[in-house]
Amino acid sequence: MSLVNVTGLTVEFGSLRAVDGLSFRLEQGAALALVGESGSGKSTVASALLGLHRGTGARVGGSIEVAGVDVQEAPDEALRRLRGGKAAMVFQDPLSSLDPYYAIGDQIAEVYRVHTRVSRRAARARAVEVLDRVGIPDALRRSRSRPHEFSGGMRQRALIAMALACEPDLLIADEPTTALDVTVQAQILDLLHTLRQETGMGLLLVTHDVGVAAESVDEVLVMRHGRAVEHGPVAAVLGSPSQPYTRDLLGAVPRVDAPRAAAQVREEPPEVVLEARGLRREFGRGKRAFTAVDDVSLTIHRGETLGVVGESGSGKTTLGRMLVGLLEPTAGQVRYDGHARVGVRPAVQMVFQDPVSSLNPRRSVGESVADPLRARGESDEGRIRERVRELLERVGLEAAHYDRYPHEFSGGQRQRVGIARALAADPRVIVCDEPVSALDVTTQAQVVALLGELQRELGLALVFVAHDLAVVRQVSDRVAVMRRGRIVEEGPADEVYDNPRDPYTRQLLAAVPALDPRIAAQRRSARRELATL
């Protein structure tokens, strides 16, 4: 008997059909990944397996069988026994997925007691046991902590511990590492791998990241618009995809091991446009003071791209904001064109991370793009409109989009508007702060390509701040690696990526998921070695 057997599954929310006739099976102990971009319906499938749509107004059709339970027909009581008992779910955001008011050990014990008739004390002991199992140090003491006292990675471990508590046959992991840094992601994926080997439970992994899937599963099901595009063993689907969509998807995924396609060869001595000298920035005062950026010096040349890569909390965003003048440094200076500079100036622009908050929802996108023109003193409405239309077309939008509002655009389109607004100031440098991290891979590739084109055409200098090592390699001439406010390594991109000198850089690179399952296995053992160093 299969662990999971789904036939002709459809899920409809009102008139929207999120899942459309999906069928798949998962054998005992096997691992399957549902891979797709946002809106593909993959998370909906995960919820449907536990019957979480019951009573929510969503219409679920087809048949779902999980661990011998007919999810569609089972009475509420049987469904409750299935949830957590035989099939347990790990959610994406570990902070919001735990009750902020109770100790983590108590929350695991509560779940355990739903499924087993044991005393409070025994349940609490079980909680400590599973916390220890997922690698939480000093589990007994830490089990009394509340979720906000844990780091992101520890919280995800705690959620996995909760899932393990009742020894389920199936683990459903919905984007379990999306909110985590790449090194922590690697640890969590390794943990899942080890647990699967030890317990023999089946795994259904939902992810947008092809690399994460390659690291973790035997089989892949690629989804799009609620349907299965391609389904097969992970090596076959990722190695030689048969469907055009899968090929496009894989083609768009940036590779950390591939050199930059169009590396520029420069002849003349490069001209320095922006320079950071001994930049330092502190936040808070007294005991709570901490240094976000510490003694950072950088030079940015005309027409080149400098990649700044680091994990969360490395200070890369603070550095970016100081470079454009939105934040004043505590010490050190930013020099533009050889002169020290205070405050913002139009020649140094920024493209922001969040396509939702970077445009004023109450103003038309044309007005937002026109801002730099008007601020410069241009008052001829005709000329302003003309220039804005030109810019919108240049970034791949339509001139007629002038009067539309931000909510009418997709994330990728909004990011294009943001680029057009930066261009309107006729900048020489654009600092891009995580410009593509909120976008799907195919959109990501398009925006990255657009930035490259504009750079060549206009001779712009780009500072590309990102956490994604592969994207940074794809766009950068030179790369700076940041950790805890300092630059640990800086150099030409290929050199840093192929021959990293700093141990932290090596650790980062080893943590990046590989698309090839065999390489992934090699990396895993390499990580173990690095960890034992």
Binding site: L359, R404, A422
Partner: protein
């Protein structure tokens, strides 16, 4: 998802229109405002005014009980007359609506103006300005409105026009919460990328504040103001009930209730009319306020009730 092309205001109306209770409340409020505005006209039609004594209509032998059934209801006096004085109840009621609504609205305007100015200044000013204004706001919030206004109203000479005074006192004491909300919202907005982008465009900080920040704080301010109006009506009525708010001969609903418990058997409408008027007005305004809140921000609807800056974001 919102419909394409819908601007903020249009979206607001569309969302408000889908709430039946809020619509009914809006109609009631509109009627009340109309009655208040048309008070002289309405009393002219009745042929009465709110201040003339009619000693002939009350039975002085029985302590001033209105003569006639139902407290002296007649063609001349639609809702009867006041015990003891014989003043026309209908006239006092509609003129009372003027006082209630007028005082409450004026007080709200004062609260909103002070609150917005202080809140925005605290959020945009430097650390010292913020510290100072926030401490002042804390003190203001800690002052019990009823007690302070009760005491303040006692010392101002009675030559000062009373309704204006009541509105001013309420407005000057109870702006703390709105300042806190505005400060919190402005601080949130200030960190948004589009505000940074506007600064990068080269605009000065005044222009950025006006174009990018102020529209963003409008929604919470309107929402909170809509809930302040009914509160202010209640406070004015309470002060007048205690005899320190609006004083005779100016009519006010709260003041009419002062002596009502003595007369409830002889002239029940003397109690029921102002009590009912207060109830209906406050209820309609509250329902309308809820509707406005839901229409402006369906998600934050439940959050704003306690939006006094106490709820802090969890920091990991």
């Amino acid at each position: 998802m919102s419909a394409p092309g819908a601007s903020g205001a249009r979206q607001f109306w569309r969302r408000l229109r889908t709430q039946r209770a809020a619509l009914v409340a809006a109609v009631v409020v509109a009627l009340l405002v109309l009655v208040a505005l048309a008070a002289p006209l309405l009393t002219a039609i009745e042929g009465q005014d709110p201040t003339t004594y009619h000693p002939s209509l009350v039975d002085s032998a029985r302590g001033g009980v209105p003569i006639g059934s139902f407290g002296g209801v007649s063609a001349e006096h639609w809702l009867g007359v006041e015990p003891q004085t014989g003043r026309d109840l209908f006239a006092r009621l509609v003129y009372g609506a003027r006082v209630s609504l007028g005082v409450a609205l004026a007080a709200t305007v004062v609260q909103v103006v002070i609150g917005v100015v202080v809140g925005v200044a605290a959020a945009l000013g430097n650390q010292w300005v913020d510290q100072l204004l926030s401490r002042i706001t804390d003190v203001i919030v800690a002052m019990p409105l009823m007690i302070m206004s009760l005491a303040l109203l006692a010392i101002v000479p009675s030559s000062f026009p009373r309704p204006v005074l009541v509105a001013l006192v309420i407005g000057l004491i109870a702006w703390g919460n709105i300042a806190k909300i505005v400060r919190a919202q402005t601080l949130t907005l200030k960190e948004l990328d589009y505000v940074s982008a506007a600064r990068l465009s080269g605009w000065g900080s005044w222009r950025v504040a006006r174009r990018e920040l102020l529209p963003g704080i409008a929604a919470p301010v309107i929402t909170y103001a809509a809930l302040l109006v009914p509160t202010n009506i209640t406070v004015e009525a309470a002060l007048s009930f205690l005899g320190v708010g609006v004083k005779p001969p100016t009519p006010s609903w709260g003041q009419m209730l002062t002596a009502a418990d003595v007369w409830y058997q002889a002239a029940p409408q003397y109690l029921l009319l102002p009590a009912g008027a207060l109830f209906v007005t406050v209820l309609a305004l509250t329902v309308l306020g809820d509707g406005v809140r839901t229409a402006l921000d369906p998600r934050a609807a439940s959050r704003l009730r306690v939006g006094t800056g106490r709820k802090r974001e969890a920091k990991a």
